[in-house]
Amino acid sequence: MLKIGNHEFSSRLLLGTGKYPDFEIQKAAVDVSGTEILTFSVRRMNIFEASQPNFLENLDISKYTLLPNTAGAKTAEEAVRIAKLAKASGLCDMIKVEVIGCQKTLLPDPIETLKASEQLLKEGFIVLPYTSDDVLLARRLEELGCHAIMPGASPIGSGQGIINPLNLSFIIEQANVPVIVDAGIGTPSDAAIAMEMGAAGVLLNTAVSGADDPVKMARAMRLAIEAGRLGFEAGRIPKKRYATASSPLEGMSIG
């Protein structure tokens, strides 16, 4: 089970809801992914086009735990405001703290992320900060009381996979709260590697929504994350420099 704050989940896939070709494909992808946690953003409504359907209306949101993000925030203050707006919906108590410090790389601002997380923890939120793969920052966020740490595998939407597996392994090893690899996942094998390394979960969006067949990719990610987790729990063999025969060397009928 994946435990975050007072929530428990049997799926370890957290799925984003952005940029699907249409609502039907999105719904089907969400269904087959097996996810129990959906992320989304908070934005101004277009009051002049209020009749436009919203993605929430297309999904049975009672089946999911909602994880709003603070995307769009550049400062801790803005992130805290967005988090409070999300909570005022009465639909969620978790928040993905996302304070972007650079528009080109979309890498998180560590100082503002730390400040926002501290403030939101004081206000009683279940706080999941999106962070870089900085090992000490991850530790500081955990020491603040964050309920999970979400280091990026590589820049958001880049699909580059895990570009610093060493740092990620240090973050996973030191953590006493779930480490969820968030952002940069491109393929099922990326997700499986994260899980094999001992990540508690994977959060992804574009890898599914931007795939040629998002529904098929959603299923692939589900299976990859399950496989990776099982592999981690089973415990891999040590790597050796030379071969070790799997067949017995005794009782050969030749030579």
Binding site: F40, S41, V42, L56, T206
Partner: protein
């Protein structure tokens, strides 16, 4: 009465007196809408009792797809 709604000046009839009535006016009453009035976030339960007046700054936000 003139309000600023999501940054735009909007005229609403004077019969609209509360946040709940404003949402009804915009046909948003059945949607998930979060309301901020003059930079104060309102819990949903407060919509019916919160009065609005001329020049109020209202923000109406909702959830959209994101990662």
């Amino acid at each position: 009465m003139i309000l600023t709604v999501n940054g735009d000046q909007v005229e609403v009839p004077n019969t609209v007196k509360t946040i709940a009535e404003l949402l009804q006016h915009f046909e948003l009453n059945n949607k998930v809408v979060i309301v901020e009035k003059n930079a104060e976030i309102l819990e949903k339960e407060k919509h019916a009792e919160t009065l609005i007046s001329d020049k109020d700054k209202i923000e109406l936000v909702h959830f959209v797809g994101g990662g």
